[in-house]
């Protein structure tokens, strides 16, 4: 990737909202971060009998979508709906529609498994004679499990008519939405974009990661010398991205750069030297017109698997040395997979806004083979530039640079 001639135009996050196992809305999430209160609990998802911890969003089983959204009814869209209701996000979008028009706002969402839980349930209810799936499922597949369901749902909920798509590149999905939206804005395809991601718990990922022997039996311990795997979580997050001068106020948080790459190595193991990760991070710095020394904090992908944390450390150390503070926030939220990108981009935004850095929760003793400056305790100090890393299956990597204007 050649170095861009000039940095990209910063894109202001003029509104944002987040729901994780730590609570509903950015207030609840930042309070949990400051109080070092994890959202991980022993797995009580449906009838899954797995000895692991999960970051489940409470209350998702207790309500239904309204009659006008009935066809979208599934756990993933209920979580998507809950996310939209927090932090005045719907009002901010309504105001943006007033400013730009409903057809000038793009919707770019990320998810890895969409509403697959519906399909799992449908397969348990196949017709005993014909083997066919129940009609309540087949008639709603488009609105629940199909990969575009989330994009369709968000667009319908907020009443938008601009371009839309769902990016699904496993764990990097809702980090890459920032890159696509940035390109759409630069190309003039839209005047603003809602980016975000929603991924919800399901048996596919619980049993799939269990089969890969990547689930920890305790709450995940990123960067700890005894870390033994990840904890799954679920989350919904959205940000309204705008490039206009009007929202480019001093003190606002903006996307300054993005970097996208692949490992070209293996479907589920990271490249041993972190080649793809290095490429993504460098590209994000280049697009932001920043040097590694300009970065105050790195929110690591930090899944707490042996391989990820060690390879990510190699990549980060090779670029930043032991300069910036590094931490993983997965000990709070669990790994929200396709929603991890937006979750951690918004946690980075909260850190920039409030002037603090979360120390890695559950990391009792930093793995001595890691060389980056891994933070264990929270620090209160103003920061101006953050890098957020997300790496996923298929060797798909994305790094974002966020900063205070």
């Amino acid at each position: 990737m050649p170095t861009p001639n000039r940095p990209m135009i910063p894109l202001t996050l003029s509104a944002y909202t987040l729901v994780t196992a730590n609570g509903r809305g950015v207030g609840a999430v930042s309070q949990a971060l400051r109080e070092r209160r994890s959202g991980l609990k022993p797995c009580d998802f449906e009838d899954a009998l797995l000895k692991t911890y999960i970051g489940r969003v409470t209350g998702l089983e207790d309500f239904s979508l309204g009659a006008d959204l009935e066809q979208f009814e599934c756990r993933n869209n209920r979580l998507a709906w809950l996310g939209l209701q927090q932090d005045g996000f719907m009002v901010a979008v309504a105001e943006a529609i007033q400013r730009y028009g409903a057809d000038r706002i793009a919707v770019v969402m990320g998810t890895s498994t969409s509403g697959i839980l519906e399909t799992e349930h449908a397969y348990r209810n196949r017709d005993p004679l014909t083997g066919s799936l129940p009609p309540w499922y087949t008639s709603r597949y488009r609105y629940t499990h199909n990969m575009f369901s989330l994009g369709h749902f968000v667009r319908a909920c907020v009443g938008l008519q601009g371009p839309a798509m769902v990016i699904s590149t496993a764990c990097s999905s809702s980090a890459k939405v920032f890159a696509t939206a940035a390109r759409f804005l630069q190309a003039g395809l839209c005047d603003a974009a809602i980016v975000g991601g929603v991924d919800s718990l399901c048996h596919t990922t619980l049993h799939g990661f269990s089969a890969l022997q990547l689930l920890s039996t305790s709450p995940c311990r990123p960067c700890d010398e005894d870390r033994d795997g990840l904890s799954l979580g679920e989350a919904a997050g959205y940000a309204l991205l705008e490039s206009s001068e009007r929202v480019r106020r001093k003190g606002a948080v903006a996307l300054l750069g993005y970097g996208e790459s692949t490992d070209g190595y293996h479907m589920s193991h990271p490249h041993p030297e972190g080649a793809g990760a290095i490429r993504a991070i460098r590209q994000s710095l280049d697009r932001a017109g920043l040097q590694p020394s300009d970065i105050d904090y790195i929110n690591l992908h930090g899944t707490a698997t042996r391989a990820n944390d060690s390879v990510e450390d190699k990549a980060v150390y090779s670029i930043f040395g032991d300069g910036p503070a590094c931490s993983s926030t997965k000990g709070w939220t669990g790994h929200a997979l396709g929603a991890a990108g937006i979750t951690e981009a918004l946690i980075a935004t909260l850190c920039l806004k409030q002037g603090f850095i979360p120390g890695t929760l559950n990391c009792e003793r930093v793995d001595p083979t890691l060389h980056s400056r891994i933070l264990r305790e929270n620090e209160d100090r103003p920061i101006r530039r953050v890098v957020s890393n997300i790496f996923g299956f298929g060797g798909n990597n994305c790094s974002l640079v966020l900063g205070v204007l």
């Binding site: 499922y137 488009r142 699904s168 590149t169 190309a187 048996h203 596919t204 070209g264 479907m267 798909n396």
Partner: protein, 266 residues
């Protein structure tokens, strides 16, 4: 947005490979969709090919065909893979396993279930470390993917491989998403207009209405409507006929991608 097209890949029953498909689409060869192709996707390492789904082999086959024609080094080319449903065959197997009491899931099957499986295997086969995006927009996945690819080429000023593919889901999942025939196609898109097969001017406009395709042969209409990836057929036919054409691709109910294709052969 102005782009050049450097290579084309095509695979469907009766349209097996671009040289054959081009002749069929240009009307110089009869359309005979009786035999379903079984692509070997020779670029995939033997191990990966044995384990990979039909979806992966179809997507990689058209990708390698388009890439070979482009003459570009695949390691230098970013990718955009568009599919409505992705790995439906793998999802069927997973959901069957999850419906048993034991719920034993194969780890290989699990990592092959992601929407970016074909994109990931392409990257592994070519050692490509460029950006790779996999996306969906239900029936309009092809238009959304083309928009993403063209925008990438123009904004990042880099070549990009665009692949669109959807395969019929196995029973009983086909009850949820009935697609009758498989279709995969690929375009190598470049921001440069030099030494290209064709150029295209792509614009996005807010407009209601269904796909409009001028002078598109009706014999391919059923295929075009059956498979989301086949929505590119009018563009492919214009490329095959080496003639100027304006094609409207529907993007959701209220946006439209207008593709003005012009051949550079003459």
């Amino acid at each position: 947005m102005q782009i050049g097209i450097l290579g084309v890949g095509l695979l469907a029953a009766g349209l097996e490979g671009w040289p054959t498909g081009r002749a069929v689409l240009a009307g110089t060869r009869p359309f005979d969709p009786c035999t379903v192709p079984d692509p070997d996707a020779s670029l995939l390492p033997a191990n990966e090919r044995r384990r990979s789904s039909d979806c992966v082999r179809w997507a990689v086959q058209v990708a390698q065909e388009a890439m070979a024609q482009s003459g570009l080094d695949p390691r230098e080319v970013a990718t955009v893979f568009a599919s409505s449903g992705g790995e439906m065959e793998v999802l069927d197997k997973l959901c069957r396993a999850l419906a048993t009491t034991e719920r034993v899931v194969s780890p290989t099957l699990f990592h092959q279930s992601v929407h970016n499986t074909a994109a990931g295997y392409w990257g592994i086969a070519t050692s490509c470390q460029q950006s790779s995006t996999a996306l969906s927009c239900y029936d309009d996945s092809c238009a959304a993917g083309l928009l993403e690819a063209v925008t990438y080429a123009c904004v990042e000023e880099r070549p990009v491989l665009f692949v669109a593919y959807d395969l019929p889901a196995p029973a009983p999942l086909n009850g949820a998403r009935p697609i009758a025939s498989a279709f995969a196609t690929a375009l190598v898109i470049t921001p440069s207009m030099i030494q290209v097969l064709a150029t295209a001017d792509v614009t996005l406009t807010a407009a209601a209405g269904r796909d409009v395709s001028h002078a598109f042969s009706q014999e391919f209409e059923r295929l075009r409507l059956d498979n989301p990836a086949a929505r590119l057929l009018p563009v492919l036919q214009a490329l095959a006929m080496e003639r100027r054409a304006t094609i409207h691709l529907n993007l959701l109910d209220d946006q439209r991608l207008i593709v003005e294709v012009e051949s550079c052969r003459n």
